[in-house]
């Protein structure tokens, strides 16, 4: 069960401002049926650019409905310029906080508001173009870039909670990571394979391949590996953690560790386990 605040429960069970604002002059629509949540926000802006009325229609979970309801309460009576400053954090804060997996509900509120204001001002709504990275939720590279830049996101989990991107099949995780690295000015490290290697170079390359390519996957399954020695083309390793007691460790050793080292260091390597 989600840990929703009383305020989220209240705005979900007794939503404020459901429907379409009368004589609305700004409409913002975000989300879709396939994504699992969507918001249609209508606002009526009156004299002095004051938002006189705001109403919502939302398809989504409890926190999506509560975020929409909260948003309408927050913007009613506000000057347009003030309303434009509302962030997704403000919406979450208004509700006393949201579970981190539900942050995207507050992001949907902010995006809906942004579009409604743009619509009222007659601006071409910034439909974020770009290439779709996450096919499950139709999120583009530009949207991910924006989230990394403007909202300071730095990990896949943050991107998932914020934009949903990467939260489905997970096939796009590498692409999302590349965007994070690029935007944050970090260069993905490349492994350069020298043509002819000295023994020292070979050992170093074996070490760095173990660190970068092999350890992370083993550690995901709570295992680990330690380089013990390199003699000629024989690589002696010690399996640790869950790998040490895993009945499939020999399969891992040959099909994963040895294959990776052969691919990235040299074809002649043989990996042997030291107990």
């Amino acid at each position: 069960m989600w840990d929703y605040t009383e305020k989220v429960r209240d705005h979900f069970l007794n939503p404020r401002n459901v429907g379409v604002a009368e004589n609305a002059n700004g409409v913002g629509e975000v989300g879709s049926l396939s994504c699992g949540d969507a918001l249609k926000l209508t606002i009526r802006v009156g004299e002095n650019d004051i938002i006189e009325d705001a109403k919502f229609q939302t398809f989504g979970c409890a926190s999506a409905i509560a975020s929409s309801s909260a948003l309408t309460e927050m913007v009613k009576g506000l000057a347009l310029d003030e309303a434009a400053k509302i962030t997704n954090d403000d919406i979450a804060e208004f509700l006393g906080g949201l579970p981190k997996e539900k942050i995207h509900c507050s992001v949907m509120g902010r995006d809906g508001l942004e579009r409604a204001i743009a619509d009222y001002r007659g601006e071409v709504i910034k439909v974020t173009q770009g290439n779709v990275v996450c096919e499950c939720f139709g999120v583009t590279d530009l949207e991910i870039e924006r989230a990394v830049k403007e909202d300071g996101l730095a990990t896949i989990d943050q991107i998932i909670n914020h934009l949903k991107a990467g939260g489905g099949c997970g096939k796009c995780h590498d692409d999302i990571e590349a965007i994070i690295h690029r935007v944050r000015g970090e260069q993905a490290m490349e492994i350069i394979k020298p043509v002819r290697m000295s023994n020292m170079q070979k050992i170093k390359l074996i070490e760095s391949t173990l660190e970068r390519e092999i350890k992370p996957t083993l550690q995901k399954d709570r295992g680990d590996i330690e380089l013990v020695d390199v003699v000629g083309n024989k690589v002696y390793v010690r399996l640790q953690g869950s790998c040490a007691s895993c009945s499939k460790s020999q399969i891992t050793l040959k099909n994963h560790v040895e294959a990776k080292l052969r691919e990235l260091v040299t074809q002649d390597l043989v990996v042997e386990e030291v107990k």
């Binding site: 049926l33 396939s34 969507a38 398809f59 939260g167 499939k248």
Partner: protein, 392 residues
């Protein structure tokens, strides 16, 4: 507020009869069955009875029953045993709608050099048997196919499948029968099934106990090592009281199976019929001709499942959803997606799963309140407004 518990495929209440047999094992019969003294012997007797009771429900021999900590452990043990027994066979077959206990484990084996076939299903959740049989070869180490689907209740013809895949060269056939045991008549003596997993807490025993049936003669290799328990097939001191509870739950299930398939089924059918009559734009999922008697998966278009669940909770009604938002993952259930349930409805799918504990009154409460809940949420949904406008 009265609790109306309709989430029995998630877990069940521990039956009074089960609890009664369990308590002395926690209080008085505390010996370790492996110990060489009278307290050890005292603990050994109820274990023996439990093994007989589980075997009897399955039409198996007591020494074919291995106690585990849960359904997931039973599944992992079965798959692992097949891999170790047939190290040269590098192909595994399971289904797209399998429980993650099997599906995720099988998929993870792709990293270890295995080829994994996920057999698809049709719109009603029925298995593509042609695709299944075409995938089998001498390289197939294990075929693991669930007996009943946890989300839709759809039953797969596992007995027929077991015979066929073994004749085509598959080494081992395993079935995850966690949802089927106690609801479907099972007689393993006459079948080609090599291994079968079951879980205690799905049939009114406590959480933390399961069993794996291993047909006599099946090559086996333990998953947990370091002790002689369970004939050397699973190390670790027995979860004594829970195993005793599982035994009683199995004998109780045998007594209740008829009621499950008559009274409980009638409750489920009435619930389903009334909801379909009173709520527009909804439909039932699964193979309606071959389905567990207690399960109803029903999709409501243009609304989202978590919102439905939380509103039902206000009336004391407990159910679950195939919706993404409840589980922490974001995509709707892999079962509904594999069946091709459109997004308009997949997000708004609710699973009611009944048990012999349920009454007419429980069903009445749902029938009285759910139409209003769906109506309220649809009034909020922009897609409902659009759909109605398009219709008019």
């Amino acid at each position: 507020m009265r609790t109306i518990y309709l989430d029995n495929n998630a877990t069940t209440r521990v039956a009074d009869e089960v609890l009664e047999e369990m308590i002395p094992c926690l209080r008085d019969i505390y010996g370790n069955p492996s110990s060489m003294h009278h307290k050890g012997a005292e603990a050994g007797e109820p274990l023996k009875l439990a093994r007989q009771r589980v075997a009897s429900l399955l039409g198996a021999q007591p020494d074919e029953i291995l106690f585990t900590s849960c359904g997931t452990e039973s599944d992992s043990t079965a798959i692992n045993a097949a891999m170790v027994a047939y190290p040269d066979k590098k192909h595994i077959v399971t289904t797209m709608v399998e429980h993650p206990a099997v599906k995720t484990y099988c998929e993870s084996l792709e990293k270890h050099g295995y080829r994994v076939t996920l057999v698809p299903v049709d719109r009603k959740g029925r298995l593509d048997l042609n695709a299944l049989y075409a995938s089998i070869s001498d390289d197939t180490a294990i075929v693991s196919i669930m007996w009943a689907n946890n989300e839709t209740g759809t039953l797969f013809p596992v007995e027929e499948i077991a015979k066929k895949v073994k004749s085509l060269g598959a080494a081992v056939f395993h079935t995850d029968a966690v949802q089927a045991v106690g609801k479907v008549d099972i007689n393993l003596a006459d079948s080609a099934i090599d291994m079968l997993s079951l879980s205690g807490h799905k049939l009114h025993a406590p959480k933390g106990v399961g069993a794996l049936y291993i047909r006599k003669g099946t090559k086996f290799s333990p998953f947990l090592m370091g002790g002689h328990q369970e004939n050397g097939r699973r190390a670790g001191t027995e979860n004594h009281s829970s195993i005793v509870a599982l035994g009683r739950a199995c004998s109780l299930a045998a007594e209740m199976m008829e009621e499950e398939n008559t009274r409980v089924k009638a409750l489920r059918d009435r619930l389903e019929k009334r909801l379909l009559e009173t709520i527009p734009n909804c439909f039932v999922n699964g193979d309606l001709d071959n389905r567990l008697p207690n399960t109803c998966s029903i999709s409501f278009e243009y609304v989202e499942g978590e919102a439905i669940l939380l509103m039902m909770n206000e009336f004391g009604i407990c159910a679950s959803s195939g919706s993404a938002c409840t589980s922490g993952s974001l995509e709707p259930s892999h079962v509904l997606r594999a069946m091709g349930i459109p997004f308009t409805a997949a997000h708004g799918t609710i699973r009611f799963s009944l048990s012999t504990d349920n009454t007419d009154e429980d069903i009445d409460t749902v029938i009285e309140n759910l139409p209003g809940i769906i109506h309220t949420l649809r009034q909020m949904s922009p897609f409902w407004a659009e759909a109605m406008a398009a219709k008019a």
